[in-house]
């Protein structure tokens, strides 16, 4: 019995992983370009409402893409404020989060006739079984069957991310903008467009993750459904030291931690712990990591700093 639960818990953990990893990868592009983005939660919220609307109107594939596109468009507010107008990155991120809540309610009233949620059961993608893994014994196969196709896509996203960051001209310049914008500009690299691109990618990925949450997991838009996952994604990004594979491991850990109180509340040991304490794990782990008690955390050197380049 508990092993069957374990399969279900892993399945749910993988769904949370997908949300966290996609969003954290977005944050990675933004912060590696030098723009701190604590507005990930808000960008995700915009993805949930626009994704839900998109899937109702045009089907789930379009819904996911519309969610990503809306996140991208909304993130341009953050880019404009921080890159062009040198507004403090934290202030702008907070405003993004504040406005997203209001915007989502406003749009929900517009699309669905009520501010807090859409009709349940909106269309979603056909689920898939992962060959071989879905035949695992002891109920573990349940973790790999009936899965949203977006879940494996999230894992595979590590490949293009690593390639772009390390092997392309764009990726190298993006990292230069985040580490040493002055030197980059001296070498003829224009910092501002790169930072716009970094923020835009973060908006697209966080919006996509939000749409995935609404379409593929909850099958509705509901106010507050992101439950602070944007901040946990930020935690995974920091714990993963802004590096794609380590961020993947952090997202997996935190994703499973999210699923444990929901699916394994009766398992031995876990049943003794209140679920609220399990929910604290990502935050506590991140504080311990950033305080330097385990390993070292090295954010991009110029992240959070306005760059008053030749354009200013």
């Amino acid at each position: 019995m508990p092993l069957i639960d374990l399969g279900a818990a892993i399945a749910l953990g993988l769904r949370y992983f997908t949300i966290l990893y996609l969003t954290a990868l977005g944050g990675l592009f933004s912060e590696r370009s030098g723009i701190v983005n604590i507005g990930l939660e808000g960008l995700m919220i915009v993805g949930t409402i626009m994704g839900a609307w998109g899937t109702v109107e045009y089907g789930p594939v379009a819904g996911l893409l519309i969610g990503a596109l809306s996140g991208l468009v909304f993130s341009m507010v953050h880019a404009l404020a921080t890159v062009t107008f040198h507004v403090d990155h934290i202030v702008s991120g907070v405003v993004i989060n504040l406005v997203a809540v209001g915007l989502a309610r406003f749009l929900s009233a517009l699309f669905f006739g009520q501010a807090t949620q859409s009709d349940p059961g909106i269309p979603h993608l056909n689920s898939i079984d992962i060959p071989l893994l879905d035949k695992l014994p002891l109920g573990l196969g349940a973790a790999f069957s009936n899965m949203s196709p977006v879940v494996p896509i999230a894992f595979l996203m590590a490949v293009p991310t690593i390639y772009v960051l390390n092997r392309t001209r764009f990726g190298l310049r993006l990292r230069a903008a985040g580490e040493n914008p002055e030197a980059a500009e001296t070498l003829g690299v224009r910092v501002a467009p790169l930072r716009y691109a970094g923020v835009g990618i973060s908006g697209a990925l966080a919006g996509f993750a939000g749409a995935f949450l609404a379409i593929e997991i909850n099958q509705l838009f509901r106010e507050g459904q992101t439950q602070g996952l944007g901040f946990i994604a930020l935690a995974a990004l920091i714990l993963g030291n802004w590096a794609p594979i380590k961020v993947m491991i952090g997202s997996l850990l935190f994703g499973i931690a999210q699923a444990i109180p929901l699916r394994l509340s009766d398992a031995p040991v876990i049943s003794l712990l209140p679920e609220e304490f399990i929910r604290m794990i990502p935050y506590v782990v991140t504080i311990i990591a950033i305080a330097g008690f385990v390993g070292r955390v090295n954010p991009p050197a110029a992240a959070g700093r306005a760059y008053e380049g030749s354009a200013a």
Binding site: I38, S92, L98, G102, R105, G228, F277, I290
Partner: protein, 381 residues
């Protein structure tokens, strides 16, 4: 400054006055711009923006109780704005006001429930003190970690916010769960009446539905104390020195770590007041549907008010007007009230951008004037 050189510049206006004037102009311009953007959204929705804005204004100012409602809305925002601003003056970002006031509400609720043997004159101060202590402890962890390990307070306070929410959720469901008849609400028992903050609405002849309490005048006093602290005390001077240039402050003999820890604790203490009007001015119990987001709103209020206590009070009242206006919009128009939240966001961003543009313009002008002065007196060196 440029005017020090004899006779060169003709203009004698003080640069400081010019700066403040520029800021006010910037605020007005940005507010008009935000109104315009909001107006476009309202028109797209098929309503008349002028009517909507007039409705907001009427609902916030028509009757004395409307103004009192605005003051009630502003009370927590003043405290959270001050909490953010004090830390910011020392070059730190307290995004943890959110978690700090939530923990403060928890400790205040514990005091209200378990110190009920105290007479009211002592119980209310004890509850306030408990809120402050809880919030200060929650602020102390990131403050100490920052100074001792270099952990950035933005990250640690975000994480502390997450922990606070789970901690309070657990406490309401477990040790503090109400013992009365099975109520549907998840909440603590009702606090004793003598633990509640005295209302100033009824003595003023206002209906008791307005939860305007002593906390509003206390919040204005807090503005004064924060101003006095920042601009008239030694620690306040050091704090501002650390915030504007930590290198020169250290060279001047200021211990940066000590100043930062102290000011972060003061910030936490102010955060402790944020949830009190909701807790002991309005509800009289701690439920799982407590008011959230006041800490984040404080960041907006602080930056609207340029991190100055007077500016913070004014911006909190302005946001208070917009919150009150939501009722008006809900009653008198077909428009979703959320349009005002969007308007707030546009307002904050455009004001902050406008301040930045003014700062750049003034800096550029100063640079030019200095260049003129240098050109006029080349032989002196």
């Amino acid at each position: 400054m440029a005017t020090a050189a004899s006779g060169a510049p003709k203009r004698t206006r003080s640069p400081r006055l010019e700066f403040v004037g520029g800021q006010i102009l910037a605020f007005v311009g940005a507010a008009l711009f935000a109104g315009l953007v909001g107006g476009v959204i309202i028109v797209l929705y098929g309503a008349n923006p002028l009517f909507v804005y007039a409705t907001v204004f009427n609902y916030a100012t028509a009757r004395p109780e409307d103004i009192a409602q605005v003051a009630e809305n502003a009370t927590p925002l003043i405290f959270s704005g001050l909490a953010v601003a004090v830390a910011f003056k020392a070059g730190m970002f307290n995004i943890g006001v959110e978690g700090q006031y939530i923990v403060g509400m928890l400790t205040a609720a514990i005091a209200a429930l378990y110190l009920d043997w105290l007479p009211g004159v002592l119980l209310i101060p004890a509850v306030v003190l408990a809120a402050v202590l809880g919030a200060v402890v929650w602020a102390a962890i990131p403050a100490i970690l920052k100074v001792k390990t270099g952990a950035h307070e933005v990250v640690t306070t975000i994480m502390m916010n997450g922990i606070a929410i789970s901690l309070v959720a657990w406490a309401i469901l477990n040790p503090l769960k109400s013992t009365g008849e099975q109520s549907v609400d998840l909440r603590t028992n009702l606090f004793p009446g003598k633990a509640l903050m005295p209302s100033i609405a009824e003595p003023l002849g206002l209906p008791s539905s307005v939860h305007l309490t002593l906390l509003f005048p206390i919040s204005l006093l807090a503005c004064f104390f924060v101003w006095f602290f920042l601009y008239r005390t030694r620690l306040g001077y050091e704090v501002r020195a650390v915030g504007s240039s930590s290198g020169s402050a250290e060279a001047g003999g200021v211990s940066i770590g000590a100043a930062q820890i102290k000011v972060f604790l003061i910030s936490g203490a102010l955060a402790g007041f944020v949830g009190l009007n909701h807790l002991i001015g309005d509800k009289g119990y701690l439920g799982n549907n407590y008011e959230v987001g006041l800490g984040f709103a404080g960041i907006a209020v602080a930056f609207l008010g340029r991190n100055h206590p007077a500016g913070i009070a004014l911006s909190a009242l302005l946001i208070g007007v917009l919150i009150r206006g939501e009722d008006g919009i809900a009653i008198s128009t077909e428009l979703p009230t959320e349009v005002l939240i969007i308007l707030q966001g546009v307002l904050i961003l455009s004001v902050v951008i406008a301040y930045e543009l003014v700062r750049r313009a003034v800096a550029r002008r100063q640079l030019k004037e200095e260049a003129v002065v240098e050109a006029a007196a080349p032989a002196e060196s």
